[in-house]
């Protein structure tokens, strides 16, 4: 007997898909649970974890931010292969401000966020006039070339980098700062992507010519998306500079480019929550795999290929569907 899978929206999804018509506290909880969960998790986790895993949580948050920044770009039709450009720009900006001009971390991080985002936007502006893979190519090239340039001209400490940055006042401030920013970015930019503004960005990804036909200047929107994404990436870089108290060529390393992509693809592109979920899966996993060292990038590469072929929607969409729908096998009508 041939069967097909029937998917039925749960009652709560039907009633609350467009307008909220909730009948009980239970339903309220069912709906708000997934949204409240990350808040509670981020608030409580630092207390539960030991010092080592607190550090892991820190890098989870940083990679989540990078993945979110990648996802925003991907939503606007720009596939970046060099998230480390944003990260590194932020890191170097913060490093220079702190080391040469002696600013405090609370000044350098916001300044470096904006400055790093701005520099990245300017560097990538020429590419925005082209569609398709040009953006990916140039983003892949830029960080590697910048490394060469720093190596060759020995600016900003050259191969040695700059060390001895001022640290954050305490590890609690450190943790809650980055977790707070992550929550803000996650929910804020999710909202942004759902608004009309986000609609234009997604429209550019789907069909840029028809967006142009609607009388919208897509270059302006693309540049804005680039700036937003650059700022998020630069923030994580600037933040990490003060955590490691060091900035050098490793900030342009491949890890910072490939892990965010892997996280977003594994978690599910398009929702930002998926990107965060992906980082929450991949970073601790790679921490457990620390013993294999260099194989980590191989592992990410394999995950990327497997997920893009077998589950291109990503884990988040899959879970979301299960949360909102029943599934059952029904016989096919003759």
């Amino acid at each position: 007997m041939k069967k097909r899978k029937e998917r039925i929206n749960r009652g709560i999804k039907v009633r609350s898909g467009d307008i909220y018509a909730l009948c009980s506290w239970q339903e309220m909880l069912y709906l708000s649970g997934p949204r409240i969960f990350p808040f509670v998790l981020f608030l409580l986790l630092p207390f539960v974890l030991g010092i080592y895993w607190q550090k892991v949580l820190l890098s989870v948050a940083v990679f989540s931010l990078l993945a979110i920044s990648w996802d925003i770009l991907a939503q606007s039709g720009m596939i970046s292969l060099g998230q480390s450009l944003f990260f590194g720009m932020g890191a170097y900006c913060a490093g220079i401000m702190n080391h040469y001009w002696g600013m405090s971390p609370f000044l350098t991080i916001p300044l470096a966020t904006v400055a790093g985002g701005f520099i990245c936007t300017v560097m990538l502006l020429p590419v925005l006039r082209l569609r398709g893979i040009y953006f990916s190519m140039v983003t892949l090239i830029l960080p590697i070339m910048l490394v060469r340039i720093i190596e060759a001209t020995r600016i900003f400490g050259g191969t040695e980098g700059i060390s001895g940055m001022s640290p954050m006042p305490s590890k609690w401030i450190e943790l809650y700062l980055v977790l707070g920013v992550l929550l803000g970015a996650l929910f804020g930019f999710r909202r942004m992507l759902d608004s009309d503004y986000g609609l234009v960005l997604k429209g550019i990804a789907d069909n840029d010519r028809s967006v142009t036909n609607a009388g919208i200047n897509i270059y302006l929107f693309k540049a804005q998306a680039l700036f937003i994404s650059g700022c998020i990436g630069a923030f994580s870089g600037a933040f990490m500079t003060h955590v490691y108290m060091f900035v050098g060529m490793p900030v342009f390393a491949l890890d910072y480019s490939i892990l965010p992509i892997a996280a977003a693809v594994v978690g599910g592109p398009g929702t930002l929550a998926g990107a965060t979920l992906g980082a929450f899966i991949l970073v601790p996993l790679s921490e457990l795999l620390r013993g294999v060292g260099g194989l980590r990038i191989v592992f990410y590469g394999i995950l990327l290929v497997v997920f893009i072929v077998t589950l291109p929607e990503g884990i988040f969409h899959y879970v979301q569907r299960k949360y909102n729908q029943f599934e059952r096998w029904v016989e096919v009508d003759r």
Partner: protein, 290 residues
Amino acid sequence: MLIGTTIYALINSVILALTAIGFNLTFGISGVANFAYGAFYILSAYTTWILMNQFGVPYLISVPVSILLMAVLGALMYRLVLKRLRGQVLAEVIATFGMGLVILELFRYFGLVGFEYTLPPFIDSSHIILGTYLDMQRLLIVIVAVVVIFLLWFFTHYTSLGLAFRGIAQDERTALTFGMDSDKIATLAVAFGAGLAAVAAAVIIPLGSIAPGEGYDVLIKALAVCIIGGLGSTGGVIAASFLIGFAERFTDSYIGTHWTMIVSLAAILCVLLIKPSGFFGKQKELEERI
């Protein structure tokens, strides 16, 4: 000095053209940007090395074998992975990039790095030409590149398969109505690209040693040349490799080695600003620009 620099610039340009032409062929015909290109380049070099040093296969046999192997691998990559993702640029880029990473990082992990990992030159002698010390391997690269480019030109203009290649490249749907199997052609295009990467590796690697990091360099050089020349245009690739090749060599000898990277980076950004589709990217200009 000037003559020497010019000769080396010429050779540098030819090397660039040879590395870029495979990438360009694959992209021009199937529209797949093969970000695993550098990985194929390195993989073929290691294959030749392993065949020679572990299995004792003669050099002249192991080179064609590894070229063939790369072509088969390229075809397999298209059949098994890329075919399912056709048309989704995001997925294609991520998948090929991921596969390239896997190959290159595996080699790095197994530590196949060092001076012993190199291929022997075909002809180990050198001459003084126009007062410049020049080894035969570099001359051989020029000859191979010229032959490869000529063969490609002949293939795409005078054989039915080559004409089918161009047909698919120009207008896939119309080509389909003429009975050209776009999947078959795309498989062949990816295979040819991988094979050309192996050819390039076979003649260029003897100048240095095999290192996984070289894979990224090759990919980046190929990308830079293709962006400047205009993707999918063979003439553009040759012109762009001469532009970058000369610029690099001359900055190297007259300004300083540090500046070569900056020159090519500046060239890419300038070309993208002035003529976004590259110098000769006429074929798909409208589709690439918005």
